[in-house]
Amino acid sequence: MKITLGGVAAPGSSRLNKTGGWRVFYPEFLHIRCTDCGLCQKLCPEGCIFKADKKNFYADLEYCKGCGICAEECPVHDIEMRPEVR
């Protein structure tokens, strides 16, 4: 890697920086009461919650910082924050 002209950077290249290591708690998607509202995905500051299938959301733990917003905002309490065991 070399210094680019004026220090320009490639778009979206920060995804090389895996921020999952910051986590103290991780979100456990219970997949019990999910209504498929998608709020967890919408409100994730990292944008790292994916929808695999209908009512089947999961967090990409490579990036999830464990803030807990998804669990807090889930209207049916279908996400729980659990301590990371490392």
């Binding site: 778009p11 290249s13 409100l43 790292c48």
Partner: protein, 303 residues
Amino acid sequence: MYQIGVSQPYNNNLFAPGHTACAGCGQSLAARLVLNALGPNVIVANATGCLEVFSSNFPQSSWEVPWIHSLFENTPAVASGIEAALKALGREDEAIVVAQGGDGGFADIGFGALSGAIERGHNILFIVYDNEAYMNTGVQRSGLTPFDASTTTSPAGGCSFGNPTDKKPVAQIVAAHGAPYVAVTSVGYYRDLERKVQKAAGIKGPKFLQIHVPCPLGWGHDTSLTIKIARLAVQTGLYPLFEMENGEITSVVKITPKPRPVEDYLKPQARFRHLFKPGAEEELKKIQAIADENIRRYKLYEG
């Protein structure tokens, strides 16, 4: 000579993960919501500040759209130049030009540049991510820091209840310039945010959005409460959400079912902790009065 890679956006987001914002950062969330609402055909000029620092650490960038950062106080002027260049080069339809930054970069040090750019009528969407202090440099007071908030330069102490002034009404000041569209929204009301972003994007001329974005670090609340806190600011009447078109208020987000006491908003935040010690009762009344006045002025609740 130089190869700048083009990639498929991650998870259909125009703001990529891997940025170094704090966990639970309201600003990073708002920035992503804004870009996704605007789509890829934008050019963003960004002021120095948290958002810039955590998203553009060489050689990495979280931006999937063309993006430039120059300095702290000049972003509206940089965007003016970009907009003029697109016009001059016949590329006007290529992109929506966005100038964005924090409350410090836009409402304080960059306010002259903001005023000039709006007054000149550039076709630019101006966005202030209002986290109510200089968070990037360690939570110093800005012109948008609310009354009695304790910051590192307006600390609460034996002789002080924190910031002695209330927020500068920057949206109203911008509206007074004659901007066709001015709106205040909040990351706690993502539908309202998306609607206002898209509405702004469809209007020609200068348009201005102020977005309330809680900062877990600077405000001292749990990282999971970012959205809740943002909603409470609105539900207490302390952060009225409204739209102004050509200087007139055309919509407000009503409080339902009824206004919450300001304590509900203040209590979870360390920056207001000093207001819940004996002797601060009068201060809480003053803050309630600010909320009541907002409710009256913006007709947020008719009970």
